[in-house]
Amino acid sequence: MVNLKHDVLIIGAGLSGLRAAIEIVDTHDVAVVTKVHSLRSHSVAAQGGINAAMSIEDSWESHAFDTVKGSDYLADQDVVEVLTRNAPSVVIENELWGTAFSRTEDGKIAQRPFGGAAYPRTCYAADRTGHNLLHTTFEQAMRKGVKFYDEWFVTSLVRTEDRIVGVTALEISTGKVLGITAKAVILATGGFGRVYGRSTNALINTGDGCGLALRAGVPLKDMEFIQFHPTGLKGSNILITEGARGEGGYLLNSKGERFMKEYAPKKMELAPRDIVARAIQTEINEGRGFEGGYVHLDLTHLGAAKIKERLPGIREISLDFAGVDPIEEPIPVVPTQHYSMGGIDCDKNGTTSLNGLFAVGETACMSVHGANRLGGNSLLETLVYGRIVGKNASEYAANAKDPDAEAVDNAAFAMREKIQAILLNESGELCAELRELMGTTMDDDVGVFRDPTRMEGALKVIKMIQERFEKVSIPRSDDRFNYALVRTLELENMLQLAYAITAGAIWREESRGAHWRIDHPKRDDERFLKHTLMTLIDGEMKISTKDVNLGQFEVKERTY
């Protein structure tokens, strides 16, 4: 079969991938390979907003400080500086492209307060900010004629000794596996929330980029730092934005108390997410939640007009998925897996340890969020770093020699054999069963509060599932649109990530940001002010560490 060929390939068509493509398309032959059409990417679901120090009172330094403190000092401060300095310019860029930001009375881009922030610096488009940014950025990619391979699932990265040379990918509509050669590859595949059973994430967030990188010998970083959003909708786990608290919503326990006064007396409901999530979980664990294990997010005092104007999406979600009208009654909420702070180890240029391979967005770990991401910083990361990593990848491609097409050909051949073997397996383990077991294990044993004994147990279960996965079978399927096969390949990725998350969480004997160890409830800078690296060497996951780039903000105790 003939290989396809491009200078730069971008895997993933969410905001990071789109923004990178826009940066490259004028100078290089670039293509975006994506398992769902761009507009179905998870960026669309981001609600609350995008942070930028836009007002006169605010400054990038203040934004940077909040981000570093929010990260529990694990973020690399040079990376944070780039993020926060460039924030206003990407918000303005998207405004000039037509994004329908909400406005203040005098017509400026409106900004709302968000957790862990000193100023109201979260720009928003009602509570549909991701939707608005994604649709606008997609329009601009369309305007520039970016080439998309829609509904192609990347199955492997192809490398030679010292560089990337392309990928292999499954064309979902035909079932064919093809090789695509490329000088540079940017991974922009988003997070891996679906490793957990209960997640706010789209069903497609299976960490494919991290799995691909790991199998290509590229390390993952800080995988144990999983963000649990304080307010997932009880039952369906759909996100209820932090903006609901930004607009003045209260968290109430079953006694009707605003319990955040016990945990973060100054910031109350607008403390960072790790702190609020732990507070809610503590209320539930100590019997002050409602039956079934949840607390109330009360917006009723905001009034119908404000809710309809600022939080229309939240109202719709509450009505459609919980039968609750937030104008009339409180929303039942529970901490829910939401974001992956960790990801592919790379620097502030998106450069990984493999020449020509770049990473950006939630799949990357630069690290800009450290141990806990602040709300409003992830949309920002996609646009700031999409632009930067796009630029770097095209500069790399301009100087790179033609890749070895034969290596890509051979890899595609091998991948066809691997997939055929799965499809020919007439009886064996069922993907759904294994996936469910992984999800409940991660929910129960690697959640908000972490107990080393239970995590050791979880690691054994994950190993056992990985062994069972060797015999996975899809008893009945067709070549075309074989989503059962796609979901099986996704599970292979997720199992490796589940292992990395759990192994990292066992190794890190301290509590920092979103990672809380019941046996080590304090931060331990002496031993653990460092990044965790996970590298797959001969099938074994090896743990090593990497220093944190400290900077102008001194490492201090973190209180709110």
């Binding site: 669309v44 005098d106 549909r128 719709e316 998925f321 009945r476 074989n482």
Partner: protein
């Protein structure tokens, strides 16, 4: 609960219907039911999905003869739903043997070619965005423009469109006239026309009133009833027709 699901292994037309017995749990959506079928009964069934929260627009399909997002449609409430659409063949032609009192009928979204089972070819739908150039020309400058909240409100309805194609699949004109760009593309053109920041409004007016656009609409208003996001393209198209 029995689910009768349209199948098409090779695409083109529905070849037959398969019947599945789904274990219905509280709060279960039609999308959840389809996953139960794929996971536990028949991995060969194909359907699109992503967010499961009615924001990404992947899972538009025909459920009990009404175009809906599978992820937003609760199985338990299905009997009480009625969109009151103006009938046209895909909504009225019932497969033999379907018992509406006991079975949920799931079929691909009408008006777009079937690729496999519940997956339809969206190319034509997406192409309309491109052929009508439905994007903003980037404004020059280094500062954000201003816009009053009331000006923003004028386009809010349109920017809420998630491009799910339910309007396209519910439209009797789209069923008959292959060249019609469909309701959402026209609403999108009007989004730019109504945007107080747009310099060249004429460009979007021309896009909306192209011969393949608003002139083909018969103001049937199925799109208004089927839209899950309150975009209500039909009323807008009426406005476009009046203005032209």
């Amino acid at each position: 609960m029995l689910f009768r699901v349209a199948r098409s292994r090779d695409g083109g037309a529905v070849s037959h219907y398969d019947l599945y017995k789904v274990d219905v749990k509280k709060g279960m959506t039609v999308l959840d039911a389809l996953f139960q079928i794929q996971d536990k009964m028949d991995p060969s069934i194909s359907f699109r999905y992503s967010c499961r929260g009615a924001v990404c627009g992947s899972c538009a399909m025909l459920i009990n003869k009404e175009p809906r997002l599978a992820c937003k449609t609760q199985v338990s409430g299905l009997k009480d739903l009625n969109m009151n659409l103006k009938p046209f063949p895909p909504l009225t032609e019932v497969p033999p043997g379907w018992n509406p009192d006991e079975e949920v009928l799931v079929e691909p979204l009408p008006n777009l070619p079937i690729l496999k089972d519940l997956v339809v070819d969206m190319t034509k739908f997406y192409n309309a965005l491109e052929s009508l150039n439905l994007w903003a020309e980037p404004a020059e400058g280094e500062k954000a423009r201003t816009q009053s909240p009331s000006d923003r409100r004028k386009m809010e309805r349109y920017v809420n469109c998630i491009m799910c194609a339910l309007c396209f699949g519910s439209c009797p004109v789209n069923a008959k006239k292959k060249e019609y760009v469909g309701p959402s593309a026209l609403a999108k053109a009007w989004r730019f026309h109504e945007d107080s920041r747009t310099a060249d409004k004429e460009r979007y007016f021309k896009a909306a009133t192209t011969p393949e656009g608003a002139p083909l609409c018969d103001l049937i208003m199925n799109c208004v009833k089927a839209c899950p996001k309150g975009v209500a393209p039909g009323g807008t198209i009426r406005k476009i027709k009046k203005a032209s």
